[in-house]
Amino acid sequence: MAQTEKKQSSSNKKKSFWRQAFNAMLVPVLAVITGLIAGGFVIAMSDPVVLRSIAPNPWHVAAEGEAVDPSIAIDLETALQYHPNEVDVGDYAVFKRGTGVLFREIVESQDQIEDKDKQIDLERAQRRSATLDTGNAGISLTFSDRPLFAFQAAWRSVADAYRALFLGSLGSPVQIAEGWQLYRKTGDSQALRNALRPISESLVTSIPYVFAGLAVALGFRAGLFNIGAEGQIFIGATFAAYIGYSFTSLPPVLHVTLAIIAGAIGGAAWGIIPGWLKAKTGAHEVINTIMMNYIAFRVVSWLLRGPMQRPGSGKPVSPVIAESAYLPQFFGAPLRIHAGFFLAIAAAIFVWWLLFKTTIGFELRTVGSNPNAAKYSGMSVSRNIIVAMGLSGALAGLAGASEVLGLNHYLAEAFSPGYGFDSIALALLGKSHPLGVVLAALLFGTLRSGATSMQSLAQVPIDIITMIQALVIVFIAAPEIIRWLYRLRKVEDEGEKTIFARGWGS
């Protein structure tokens, strides 16, 4: 009897876990999809072909040697590439008259003239544009001429961009399969490694995101808004690099471990300072972590131009770290995936365990959810603030350490493209849950590494990727929009809420 009761309650719990997971995932996933759709509009709107097809000034395909306004001209090759169905070489020439468009067809002989309003002979055409010859192509389209064309062009540009994003971040399944077969047959893994490179790059980019995202998420759980992850990353990287190059005779495992620990300590120190200020004086951590960022950037700049500058180099870079301090890369070039990835996953599991299975986590979460109740139940709010900022800083420091020890092998000024700032959005996206953070970090890593190929293959500007990321974040930050768009009912149980307004003004 008691047995069945217990079973029931545990299955009850399980069900509610899955339902909670579903509820927690639904809105972010929809937000990502919506962000990508909205991003598609941005891509389409940034494509010159699409823009032209809906612009009042139509395309004009220039004849060879013709002097034209460059803003409305594309060459024949581009015309053929983008409008294979619209352009027929030898058929058309186009003349603009006033604001309207006269669509004229050039024919080779008078016999072919069918519609006199549209067709002119070559002679007349050449009178207007001396260099025009049959064999030149012309195309003129306004939105009202060919509405479908604009949509086709838009679809093509979005599909190209996202295909490039996919190939650039996950690789081509065909190439991977071919590489695998070749490896099976001949034992030569080079083709396979090449095919797997995009996915490896995505994972490599995700590593600092996981660490920094966990740092911000842990802060969120304790009711703290750690905007200083970027500064903590810099200090962590500096500590790790220093240990990395200043010791040369340590055994490999010990050396890399020391360097990692140093990175964590550096980040922790940088986090504890604003934490301590908040706990003891009430100074708001948002302001102080931002200021600590600036201090970190300048300190690193100074170090790289002074005490830590590589001997004999004019550039602000540190010496290269000893090989014993490398986080090992597992596969040959071009796969750069290194042990930091497993460290990051381990860190996520550790943070989950710490937050949800230990008394430390219970205290942190209670302080974050209801500081009054935390005080009432005998927890020290100020001690927990310091602990939370220290742990948060340590995780961010690990992000810096893993970049230096696993990837760059030296410290440079611009080694982080803003991982610490992205991680704020990322922690929000992951709902401050370690699993959510890992998933969000993978998404961000994928988007970022795919951005490069989107730029090179589909000529989408890198800014567009940033805009897509921003759009995703906007939708995640405003779940009401998503609920309204998809007509979702509000889920009552939203899990733990933390309070960030504490300390502002009153």
Partner: protein
Amino acid sequence: MAPVLELRGITKQFPGVLANDNVNLTLEAGEIHALLGENGAGKTTLMNILYGLYKPTKGQILIKGKEVEIHGPTDAISQGIGMVHQHFMLVPVLSVTQNVMLGQETVKSGVFLDQRKVAGEIREIARKYGLNVDPDAYIRDLPVGVQQRVEIIKVLYRNADMLILDEPTAVLTPQEVEDLFEILHSLVEQGISVIFITHKLKEVLAVADRITVLRRGKTVGTVSPAEATEKSLAEMMVGRAVELMVHKTDADPKDAVLEVKNLLVKDDLETVKVEGVSFTLRAGEVLGVAGVQGNGQTELVESLTGMRHVESGSISILGQEIANATPRQVTELGVGHIPEDRQRDGLVLSYPVRDNMVLNTYYKKPFANGLVINETAVIEAAEARVKEYDVRTPSIYVPAATLSGGNQQKVIVAREFSRPNKLMVASQPTRGLDVGSIEYIHKRIIQQRDAGTAILLVSTELDEIRALSDRVAVMFEGRIVAIVRARQVTKEQLGLLMAGSMPDDLPPSAVVEGQA
């Protein structure tokens, strides 16, 4: 003549909950109609339907015999329905006049607010209905009772002839309640009809012309106060016989547990809130601390439980000095604490019931082995406590926020009472709870007393103080006016003490300590 308002067969279905089930209610012109029911009985849902905030699933609303549809507060106001919410909707930094004008501004020359004209109208309304309010005063300077009058004026200013008051007495002192009842009588004399929502039986009998009782979304019946008693109304509300009196034997006080000497405590604004307070509390007795809200009880409790800095004086528990100890140190000495504001201090609303059950014992065996929380032990304890203390919750995994106020309070009571306590500090243990929950918590408190715990009961409800206490310490402006024997003082005498004066007719044997 048709009734001013008639609700016919109102049904409101929320997902999974039938909040109102075929509710009928008629409001006659010029009557005070009380709507009585436990928390969660559907009173507020019904009134929100009437005010246009919810759309009924079924049923009709008739105003003066004509069927109407109410789509929102604006509709309701134009139909003459005015509502005074439990939590006031006033802007503290604006004057009374400005608050009354808000949303319906009278202007002169097109753009300028005509405050003088409105102030005149407010004075007129105030005179007509006996609502004593200065139109130029700022809301933040006004006591709660006067703020409520401003809310009533706001409604009358919009020409309402039906006034809905949602739990109007919850925030008032006994004197303010009396004043409110007088105002209500003068309102109905002028032809205004009042719906009075409450779960307090005494008030209903004192003020209502007719009483409609709701239970679990259904109308149980409509009675007149002449034919009803507290007991019969309580039974209608709860659906079973209810013990309104707490049965207890005389206390058998043993050794002193808590000794407070010359305590001086300041609040966050550095104002002295507790001054020269001394008392002794013994094992096995209940010491009630009575007083109007804001006379230092909150600060006293906070200083006793380690949550507030003590300026001077001493607090000792079983001989150990704990002034300025941390809450953890106080708890470790065997002190339980039911905090005054359960949602602010007593619970983490987003946590499941399970975690709230161990909120201050999570670090101890068996709930934790070193750093690691032993979930099995937590779950077992939570399940057992939910069962033992009759907490009505779907499971121990739902967030505390989803529980009703009474059940939230039971979670706290379960947590605090299931530790071996030497001293229990219970602050407003039944505030805002329904009859059933009050009965239950009172029984538990007496059980603890009989088991030898010293109990400090702080309450602004005189009935509660009188029902549970063996001795009563009355606080006024931070000092203890007198400590009296509960059995030998009347309610009126306590009321006088709460106002700071010593009643002449108090028998000397009743006074334990006093500074008359």
